[in-house]
Structure formats: C-alpha cells, structure tokens
Symmetry: C2
Subunit: 337 residues, 2 copies
C-alpha cells in the first residue's frame, strides 16, 4: 500500500505534511510518496529531525496557489506538486492520493487526470462531519453547484458505500436535504430526486431531512446539490465557531470561570473533540476512478496522519470497485440517462 | 394602535396567546383584538384570571390545522381564526396582525387577503436571528423556494428598511448567501443578483457572504432564495440545539459539573439568552400591504408579548410606506421587469 501525498498543499506545508507522513508511516506502516520541490522537502525534513525512511520524494517544481483558476492545474501548473500527485495516481504509482490544496483544482485534477468511474456523472466532494450521535457524510459539498436528480441518486449510492466500507456503518441511512419531511416538498430537483431515491434498492433511503435534524445525526448520508451542501458545510463550521467562542467566554473570564473550567475540563474537552471534524481525517472525492482524499487546508500533522489512514482504508476496502458495480447496475436498470 | 392576534395559532394556544396579549396590553398600552372561538377564549381567560380589559374578541368558529394545505385558508378554513385575522387587517380594523399558526397558510392569507405592496413580486418570510454580534434578518426563509434575481434585490431592499426602521440598525449591511466571496461565484441566480444588488443605491450591498460568517454577524440583511434561506434557518436552529445539549452535558453531570454551573451561571444564561431568537419577537412577513408578524409555533406568553411589540413598531414606523416608495423607484429606474 502506497499513499501519495501533496507536500505543498495546505496552510502548514511542507512541514506539517512531512510530520504527518512520518507519523503515519510509523503508525500504519504504509509506504508514502511525497510530491514537491525535492530540495525544500529534504531541507525541511533534515532541519526538523523528520525521518524519511519509507517516504519517497518525487520532484515537482511548482505549487498551484489556492486562488488560481482550477483549470490551470492542466496547463500553467501541470508541473505542480498537486498535478504530479494526480499523475502518479493515474499511472498506478500509488494507491491513493492525499492533498490539502485548493478544492477546485483537486476536483478538476481528479476528473481530468485520474478520470471518473464509468457511468458516474460527477466527482463529488464528500466531507465527514460530526453529529450529536456519530458522524455523517455530506455530498455534494460544493464541487457541483447545480445538479440533476440522477446525480443526487449517485451521490446517495456513493456516500452509502463509503460510509459502510470505510466508516463501518451498517446499512447507512440516506436522506435528502429538503425544506420539509413530506415527499411533496421542495423544488423540482428534490421532488424528482425523492422519487428516484425511493425507487432505488441500492440505498436505504429514509426520505427528506430538514436541516435542523442534520446535526442530531438523523442520517448517515446527507444528499444535496453542491450549492445547498456547501451552505450546510460552511454554516455548520460557522455555528461550531460561535459555540467554541461561547464556551471560551463562559470559562475564560474571571477566577470563577477558570475554576469552573478546571472542574469540568474533561467534559469540555470531550464535547470539543466530538465536534472536531479533523478527527475523521479529510473529505473523500467520490466518483473518481482512484481514491482521493481532500485534507482540510488548516491540517496539522495529526490531521495529515488521519487523512493518510483514511486514504489507506478507502483504497483497501474496495470502495471504487463497489461504486463501479453500482454504476453499472444503475445503467442496466435504465435509471440512467 | 390596535394589534390583531390569532387566538388559536401555535402549540400553546389559546392560553399562552391570551396571557401574552394581557402582558402586552399592560406593558405597551396597545389595543388588541383576538380572533377565535369566543366562548373558549372567554372561558380560558376566566379560568386563568386573565384580565380582558382593552382586549376585544372577534368570533371565528374554526382553526386551520398546521398540516392543512395552505390554500384552504381561502376555502375550507375561510372562517378560521387566522383567516378572520387577515380579513380584519385587510378591512382596516387593526394596524397589524400577529399569528403563530402555519407559515404556509400565513403566506397565502397575507398575499391573497391582505395583498402585496404594489410592485413587490412576493411576500417573504423574514425571521430575525441572533448572531455573535447583534442579530440579522434572513430573507427569504422559505416562503419562495425558487426565486428570480429581481426578487432577491427586493428582499435586500425590504430587509434593509425593516432593520433600519424597526431594529434601529443604521445603513444595514446587505449580503448575498453564496459559496464564495468573489462576484464570480455561484449559480446564474447569484451572479445576476450580485450584479443587480451592487448597482442598486437603495441598499448598502457588501457583497457575497459565505455561510460560515453568518453566525458571526457579518451582515444585517442576509439575502437568499427561499430554499437556501430555509436551510440556513433550520440548520442554525439545529446547531443551536446541539450546543445547548452540549452545555447540558458539561454542567449537568456529576457534582463537579453542577458546582461549575453555579460558578458561571450568569455567563451561561447570558450566552443562552444571546442565542434565543424568541427575544426578538417573531418573523415579519415583508412585502404585504399591511404589517404581519409570524410568531414562532412554540411561543410562550413572553414570546407573544414580544411579537406584539414588534408588530406595533412595524406598524408605527412606516415600514410599509418606505417599501412602497422603494418599489415605485425600482419600477421607475427600469430595474423592474
């Protein structure tokens, strides 16, 4: 098992990337290839006492900036550390790719360099988010702003397979984000997606989910068009921040607050940890022909380590094969196009 | 000033409604008309020691159920307490209407019985939500799932007038919910709405707002189509609940937790109160020819009292007149149709 990692993706690259790789190598025993400027990578490792045993470096002279037009990964930045990672993955020189760089460029690179699974219409960004009970996969979280109903069905199927195989959830509950629980709710997109999802035996479709029940954990696979999914993702983040500021205000002001914090430090930590999405690693890109994990831009070494573990599980547990079979069955059953 | 109140709207009707009316009458000195089954209202008041001085009752024999098809307010439930309220408002027998019943029926009743302001395309549900700093008005929160760009411009203008006149916010910052800050982000709806809003001098348009910054309070008027707005509203509610459960877990378990709670009770209360949307009263329906306030379904007497105060301010501060002038100017400037 070899995991390819973009050495220059994310706010803390390349140091946090290399540290995360070393941790993962030690803990999981996987082989790792890191892409990027070789000299800088070597110097960073040497200067920080990072052991590169089992970690190969593959040179790539440039880095695609976060603000660059995503398509430039095919032209101007075809020699970037991210593009190189996708090229290695497509060539079979690794089993999965982890990158904390620009989401837009990753979606383009995954779709055009690695290509999509046959029959799958769109690659989808699918972060795992914490809920009161467990966690859920959200798809699409922004790769495809506008969707057709059949795309939402594919999201449901892919998310379901990922949650079962990688996260160990039995018969994941798939639900459609909507303004009401009844099947008559929503716009044409939701009405038709509801109809298609309820008629599809490949998923355990539990109906519509009103967003107020998403954080409670009422669904394991939360399906939406990319615009709506992006709103869910970012508002969840924003409310989480508000919450952690609130806790800070309660506990960090005055002696009484600090004393109170001491008294229930363990439970505060447990609550904060239960809300920490870096625990689950990164967001898989589902629909591409080989496993790709988008790590969070602010990933620290631990987050990179977790993302590498997630990439290993993604590759090892035949998620891609299962999605390919499901796509073939969809086509046969004429539910496609 | 006379406020009409639906005596049978909401989970706690009619008792909480009558209690709220009595509180409002005492505190604000407004005249009140309560609609609904007269005998039940009288009995409830007598049985609970509620003083009906200054509170008129207008008989309406039926109640429109929450699950009823909204349009039935015009047919089957034309004699309901909600329909009667709209009829009184339309006839000028009161200055504003407060109701905690079904949102769908209210939007239909407001649009068809009270009618819209000339030039305004749609009545919009516009709840006031708490943010880290202050509060914001969200529109549309679900009355119009699919919108055209010109409707979003009208939402921005109406929300802006309401926030300035009723909430006392000077030059309210109007922002468009979108997946990124840049004007090139989003679907055609957002692209065109951005263009129209930036070219409109009636609003202080600050650009796109990513949902992660909504709870921080980066905008005073948050503009979105009704589907997106409904997701924002309900996810905010859901995350708020998760937060309050988290606080409960921290403070309510064990002696140390309870002791900690005692130590910072004041700050916990302040934080919870800052997140309590019932503090702001209800959600105005903007775009209708006369002031309508949708109170929360779970309103208690205090929430009804606050909604009545809000209805009074809405009526007193010429919000409708200002919206009408703005709509006329929009039409003149040819930005309309």
């Amino acid at each position: 098992m070899r995991i390819i990692v973009d050495g220059f993706g994310g706010d803390n690259a390349p140091l946090a990337v290399l540290q995360g790789c070393a941790l993962a190598r030690k803990e999981y025993g996987v082989d790792i290839t890191v892409t990027g400027d070789e000299e800088t990578l070597k110097k960073t490792a040497a200067g920080n006492g990072i052991d590169l045993t089992g970690i190969d470096l593959v040179h790539a002279p440039s880095v695609i900036p976060v603000e660059a037009e995503p398509k430039t990964i095919m032209t101007e930045y075809a020699d970037s550390s991210m593009a190189k990672g996708f090229q290695l993955l497509a060539a079979g020189d690794g089993d999965a790719f982890v990158c904390a760089g620009s989401t837009g460029a990753m979606v383009v690179g995954a779709s055009l360099i690695v290509k999509r699974i046959k029959g799958i219409k769109r690659a989808s960004l699918a972060p795992i988010l914490p809920a009161e009970k467990g966690c859920y996969i959200l798809m699409d979280a922004g790769a495809n702003l506008e969707c057709r109903p059949e795309m939402l069905v594919q999201f449901g199927i892919m998310g379901s397979i990922y949650m079962e195989k990688v996260m160990g959830v039995k018969s994941p509950r798939v639900a459609l984000v909507n303004v009401g629980a009844e099947e008559t709710k929503g716009t044409e997109l939701q009405l038709e997606a509801y109809r298609l999802l309820s008629g599809n035996k490949a998923v355990n479709f539990t109906g519509n989910i009103e967003p107020r029940y998403i954080p409670r954990g009422d669904a394991d696979v939360v399906v939406a068009d990319g615009f709506t999914g992006n709103v869910v993702l970012k508002l969840t983040e924003g409310m989480g921040k508000l919450l952690s500021h609130g806790l800070k205000d309660i506990f960090m002001s005055g002696i009484s607050g600090k004393l109170a914090a001491l008294l229930c430090m363990k439970r505060i930590r447990a609550f904060k940890q239960s809300m920490d999405y870096t625990e689950y690693g990164g967001a898989p890109l589902l629909g591409t022909a080989r496993p790709v994990i988008k790590a969070h831009g602010s990933s620290d070494p631990k987050a990179f380590k977790n993302a590498i573990r997630q990439a290993r599980d993604f590759a090892e547990r035949d998620v891609i094969g299962q999605i390919a079979s499901a796509a073939a069955r969809l086509k046969e059953s004429g539910r496609e196009d």
